[in-house]
Amino acid sequence: MHNGEHELTAGPLPTHQDVARDVLGRFQDLGHRYWGWVTVLAFLFVLGVVGFIIRLSEGFSDENRANWGYFVATLAFIVTTFTAMPVISAGLRLAKANWRRPLTRVTENMAITGLLVVLMLIPALIALPSINGRLSIWFEFPLGAPGVWDVIGYGTLAFIGLALLWGVALPDLAAARDHLPASTRQRVIGWLSLGWVGGVRQWRVLYQGSLLAGAMYLLTYPLVQTLMISDFHHGLIPGLKDAIIPATVVVNGLQGAVGMTLLTMYLMRRLGNYERYFSVEQFWALSKPLLAFSLLWFYFWWASFITFWYGRQPGESEVIRLLVLDEYRGALMISFFLNFIGPLIALVWNPVRRSVWGPALVGTGVVIGALVNQVRLYVSAFSVADPSQHVMHPRPATQWPDAPDLLIMVGAISGCVLLFMLVSKIIPVVSIWEVGEGLRLVKVRRYLNRYARVIAKSH
């Protein structure tokens, strides 16, 4: 409903060739700035590895399980933000949203973080206490639960993510293969393009495959979040029976994915001059689901809170005290503000939604809030001394991060960004073919006394 929006003119729109030239030009150029960032991130990642080695040297036992709380919270944060991002491209492609085109690849390139998630999962699983004698989602299920099944679940997500990334990028890999000067990088890209030539059959398979892989990612992601929260949080807190919590963390993940996408787009605009791809349209469009997910996250949280508040059974009261009223109240307040109040107050205003800075700022807040929320959920759970009790007693004290925890957090997050940057030099960070297809489907035409955009239906 924005005034003046119809002041379109019949000026020429960019063509597929313009986009290909521009994206491949940026892609080819590996400047000092890029290598500077890669070096810094690699250094931070190494620091994280050092933190991890310190943790490892302290070993795994029931007594020092609390040491691993921040490590698991970091893992959950990555799952909630970076690894959740392909959900956006999958969802938008299924919904046939035209504005998705410039941003799908950014979100898909983040699927690479699935590898780091699987690696981090292994020590996290070792740190878990045995499921014998305590409540767990696996009940009496044998065959290596939860470890084997968690690895299968997370591995599946990582695999689908990589398949989605690689499959959808084939036409762009081929474009890079054909236009980059001969080099090792060009040969690697050529090999990865699997001889794509863009025949009718290949396009058909690509369309259907991208929808199928996207749908599978969309279905697997809630499963992974359910495994994460029930194994690493719910099963460790005596007296907790919160059936909604898997859905709450799934929504937090969707929120985190949108927030991280907005933040990434903002940084790419500022640092990489990607303004023409990530325009206000993308920020505006993404701000609406961000608002919806923020409301939904609070609603799910509230649904469990009000049930506990009314229940007032001993187990419930202790859980509420630990997670809401006492030890982790501060963390809840921060995430309550950043994941709900902030987005609500800011994003109900169309002028804020319809800007670059507004959604980017809120998105950054959501990402920080998601981190604090993971700390609240997982650090508290890992600091419970005896998960086999019926009612938690005594409640663990608030646990603050120590130096190795901080190193691990910074290192793991840097690792994700590093992986993204490395992948983005193999796979162009803007999907040339999808943007090009979109340009063919849009025309600006005279409509009575104004110009209007006419958008053709794809497929």
Binding site: M1, F139, A243, Y299, A303, S304, T307, G311, A456
Partner: protein, 457 residues
């Protein structure tokens, strides 16, 4: 979706106002039959008021039966209107056009019917006033806002008022169309209702904003309504009810049953009112795709409910679930519920041919609602079938003829209200259909002409 014949504004008026401007015989016949059923149900209610609640199957320890089940069922159906209308308006989905009005109207009538159920259930409906006014003026004993039973009327009245206003606001331009096509007292009445609508850009712009703004405001209300209904159960300590997932589980279940009801309604409307030019296979297909997503999300919440119910391995909780899953007749009803609401319809909807067949979609959507009625019954009754301390006489629940009559009556009532509405107002928003026609265009890509849409932004 856009390769259909274009209709002129005059044709659209004529076809959509057919029943409004003349009274077909079939309409009179159907309304009479429905009226008779409703009158029968009203008599059953009179009989129950005279005789007391003993004529129902309610007895120790089960005091919530068909009426409360029906209450939840109709609140659930009422979620269709906003789900379809608000979400599709917000996402500017073109295929919303023929279904928004009917869905919103069904919301209003389903809510009114649901509001009747607790009144009927109370046995002496006048006592409902105590929900709002002090129990005792002299001593100032007010209803307790800490009781979820006070939240219910608050939420439902909010939702009913909001959705009625929503329907009315979007109806104003159509009222002007009827005003311009009628004479005599009808013209006066429609003229008053149309408030002097002219259709200038200012009014149209506000109509567009109202659709989006009201959708955005009603959506959170719609979520709260069924959540609050679920908290009637959730905040109690009854085994299998005291579950945190109940609120979204109820809401998504409501959307599942409500959207299915919209499918049923659209197909019946198409047949009865001869709306073939407006309701196409593509529309039903689009709703069916939406239903696959909704139903699967619902199944996820159902699964969470089940898994976490068993989590603590509490004896009472396990007993209720054992009753539901393994002891007849509940096990049979449970099987029917899950088969009807998911196992049969959703795999069928995966096939394009089914999604585009009016017959298949009619039966599968009806099936979902039979399943969802059973779901509510299974949630309520087995959870109460426990012999508590100090209870010496107890029995199972068998709905009586009075209850069954009232359930049938409630279905007839909603249908009757919809039929009456359709006599006075168009069930498909005329101005939205006309707007849709204007936005149809084509784009040439290579050698192919691809259907396209004019976008304002």
């Amino acid at each position: 979706m856009y390769y259909r014949r274009t209709l002129t504004d005059a044709q659209i008026n004529r076809e959509l106002l057919d029943v409004v401007l003349r009274t077909p015989v079939w309409w009179v016949v159907i309304v009479s039959i429905l009226g008779l059923i409703v009158a029968g149900a009203a008599s059953a209610f009179g009989f129950m008021m005279n005789q007391g609640l003993g004529v129902t199957g309610l007895q120790q320890p089960i005091f919530w039966g068909f009426f409360i089940t029906n209450f939840i069922f109709w609140v659930g159906i009422s979620h269709a209107g906003v789900m379809i209308s608000a979400i599709l308006r917000l996402s500017q989905a073109e295929w919303r056009r023929p279904m928004v009005r009917a869905a919103e109207t069904m919301t209003v009538f389903a809510l009114m019917t649901s509001l009747l159920q607790p009144l009927i259930h109370a046995g002496r409906p006048w006592r409902i006033f105590y929900w709002v006014f002090p129990y005792d003026w002299a001593r100032g004993i007010w209803p307790d806002v800490r009781s979820p039973l006070v939240w219910d009327p608050t939420a439902i009245i909010t939702y009913l008022t909001s959705s009625s206003l929503f329907v009315y606001t979007a109806l104003i331009p159509d009222l002007a169309i009827i005003r311009d096509r009628s004479t005599g007292w009808r013209r006066t009445v429609y003229g008053i209702l149309a408030l002097g609508w002219h259709g200038n850009p200012r009014q149209w712009k506000l109509q567009g904003i109202a659709g989006i703004l009201l959708s955005a405001l009603i959506l959170p209300v719609f979520v709260s309504v069924h959540s609050i209904v679920s908290w009637d159960f959730g905040v109690s300590l009854v085994p299998s009810w005291h579950v945190t997932v109940f609120a979204p589980y109820f809401v998504i279940g409501a959307v599942h049953s409500g959207v299915s009801a919209v499918v049923t309604l659209m197909i019946l409307m198409r047949k009865l009112y001869k709306l073939e030019n407006f309701i196409w296979e593509e529309h039903i297909d689009a709703v069916a795709r939406l239903l696959i997503v909704v139903a699967t999300a619902w199944l996820f919440f159902f699964w969470l409910d089940l898994v976490f119910a068993l989590w603590l391995k509490e004896e009472q909780e396990m007993t209720v679930w054992h009753l539901r899953l393994f002891e007849p007749p509940w096990s049979w009803l449970f099987l029917a519920f899950i088969v009807f609401s998911y196992i049969i319809p959703v795999p069928l909807w995966m096939f394009r041919r089914v999604r585009r067949s009016f017959t298949w979609m009619l039966w599968t959507s009806l099936m979902v609602n039979v399943g969802m009625f059973l779901e509510r019954l299974i949630i309520i009754v087995p959870a109460l079938m426990r012999k508590g301390p100090w209870v010496f006489t107890y029995d199972t629940y068998r709905p009586s003829a009075v209850e069954v009559t009232l359930i049938v009556g409630s279905i007839a009532l909603v249908a009757l209200l919809l039929m009456l509405f359709s006599k006075f107002f168009p069930l498909i928003p005329i101005w939205e259909e006309k707007e849709g026609q204007k936005l149809i265009d084509e784009v040439k890509v290579g050698d192919r002409v691809v259907p396209a849409l004019v976008k304002e932004h």
